[in-house]
């Protein structure tokens, strides 16, 4: 449970789900919006991770 990536994915899943349920009323729309949000969160994190790779603390 100490995998940064795994925890980030769980976090993105929770946040995406709550936002999707708040923003959309129909289940189909919720799944589409939540899925898009989730993929965006994870993709952004991975991209930023690689961008910051050459700059360790």
């Amino acid at each position: 449970m100490q995998s940064h990536f795994f925890l980030m994915v769980i976090f993105a899943g929770f946040v995406s789900l709550v936002f999707a349920v708040i923003m959309k009323d129909e289940p189909v729309d919720q799944v589409k919006f939540g899925g898009m949000l989730f993929v965006s969160f994870v993709a952004t994190a991975v991209v930023f991770g690689w961008i910051l790779y050459p700059f360790p603390l």
Binding site: M1, L7, F11, F14, V15, L17, V18, V21, I22, P27
Partner: protein, 145 residues
């Protein structure tokens, strides 16, 4: 269509009374938001939005519990430390789960744990999301959504 008939139609439309907008029950909306704060999703359940209410009721406390499990800390309300105060206010947004955790002595946090910051993130964000859910319930109760 002639000018006369257009004018008479406009006059008829202007004379027609518009829809009566009833005053939204603000006190009810406040009560809904308060219930939503104490019990995550409670406001939506009260308003009959079962699907949304049940999802919030499960997801938000689960997220908070994962934060505690990851050895996150529930920050004290200390005005001397502004950043900690903000985190504490966000934690407070969890409502009843926060109170139960506090009374049970959970949320001490272990700074040296590898997951400490993750735990803080989960507990703080679950509180902020619950505040957002409360505002959503408030809007629904006022008929804005």
């Amino acid at each position: 269509m002639g000018r006369k008939s257009r004018d008479s139609r406009r006059a008829r439309v202007a004379a027609k009374p518009g829809p009566v907008v009833s005053d939204p029950d603000t006190s009810l909306a406040m009560a809904v938001a308060a219930l939503g704060w104490v019990i995550p999703g409670g406001g939506h359940l009260w308003l009959g939005r079962r699907q949304k209410g049940l999802i919030f009721l499960v997801i938000l406390p689960l997220m908070f519990a994962i934060g505690l499990w990851l050895e996150g800390r529930l920050f004290p309300l200390d005005p001397g430390q502004p950043l900690s105060l903000l985190a504490a206010l966000a934690d407070l947004g969890n409502g009843l789960p926060y109170l139960i955790a506090t009374v049970s002595g959970l949320g001490e946090g272990r700074v040296v744990a590898a997951t400490f910051e993750y735990g803080n993130t989960f507990t703080i964000v679950s509180g902020l999301l619950n505040m957002l859910v409360c505002l959503d319930a408030y809007d629904v109760a006022l008929g804005r959504k």
